[in-house]
């Protein structure tokens, strides 16, 4: 285990430091093309602002739900670097807009431990910055840290 993380000290109610993100079109295209280097034209709600507006997503193109999920996974993994994210469930409750600040974070809701591992149950979310603090993505994760 990484010497810098005291997993014994991370307990129920503790929150991750969080990661702030603000995705632009180039980053979204990079994500969509991650598998084979190509962006499918069918993904225009993510790559074309006018198309996103036509589809009712408001004034900006949106990010794929999977990209928000990935950032949530990043936030959890940075907080618990020796842990394996065994399960991550995320519901895409609302469109997540590009060029808008969001924070991905998590909170421990349960912790169990035996001789070989520590198991954390964690609530996760992606929260949009602003007065309404909308959480367009929410879910839960199970992270296991081997001793």
């Amino acid at each position: 285990m990484a010497n810098s993380v005291d997993y014994d000290a991370i307990d129920i109610g503790d929150e991750a430091p969080g990661i702030e993100v603000n995705f632009n079109l180039d980053q979204v295209k990079g994500f969509l093309g991650a598998w084979n280097g190509r962006v499918d034209s069918a993904n225009s709600r993510f790559t074309n602002r006018e198309q996103a507006e036509k589809e009712g997503f408001g004034g900006n193109a949106i990010i794929p739900g999977r990209l928000g999920l990935a950032v949530i996974a990043r936030a959890v993994q940075e907080w618990l670097p020796d842990g394996r994210i065994e399960k991550l469930d995320v519901v895409f409750r609302a469109p997540t807009l590009q060029e808008t600040k969001h924070t991905a974070s998590a909170m421990v809701t349960d912790k169990t431990e035996d001789d070989s591992e520590i198991r954390y149950e964690i609530d996760v979310y992606l929260e949009r910055e602003g007065e309404d603090a909308l959480r367009p993505q929410r879910g839960a994760a199970i992270v296991v840290v081997k001793k």
């Binding site: 991650a34 950032v71 990043r74 394996r84 995320v90 895409f92």
Partner: protein, 147 residues
């Protein structure tokens, strides 16, 4: 499963529930692993440093190539659809060059009624199995249809 779905005849072929739909073989390349890590802003060297110790970020399961076949489900009220959420199950590290069999199946169909009216959910799952028979992970994607 919700009562509403059970009462609607012909909405989908129930014999397909839980049955394999399609299977493909893919190879996870170092390039794809690095593109993905870069696209999500990952900085941990275990995901970003090329070489024999590189492992794929768990979120990559959501962007790996998967079978295109789906079981068609026709909710009578459906006019729009969107990706409602994803669950990823991460069982083992994926390394560059891993050859995976990807198997898809329909795992659930259900309805809910929210403030905006009825919603129909269709869940398809992809299993990722390495050549040695290890299931390295799976992803369940939920598509939601609304009036």
């Amino acid at each position: 499963m919700a009562e509403e779905v059970e009462k609607i005849e012909g909405i989908y072929d129930k014999s397909k529930l839980g049955q394999p739909i399609e299977e493909i073989q893919i190879t996870v390349t170092e390039d794809a692993m690095l593109r993905y890590a870069n696209a999500i802003g990952e900085q941990d060297p275990k995901y970003t440093k090329a070489g024999p110790d590189l492992i794929a970020h768990p979120g990559i399961l959501t962007v790996l190539q998967t079978p295109t076949g789906r079981v068609e489900v026709k909710f009578p009220f459906a006019k729009t659809g969107a990706h409602g959420g994803s669950s990823i199950f991460n069982y083992a590290d994926i390394k560059a060059g891993d050859k995976l069999t990807v198997r898809s199946k329909l795992t659930d169909v259900y309805t809910k009624t929210g403030r905006s009216g009825p919603m129909g959910f269709v869940v398809h799952e992809n299993e990722f199995i390495r050549e040695d028979g290890t299931m390295v992970g799976k992803v369940a994607d939920s598509m939601v249809s609304r009036p």
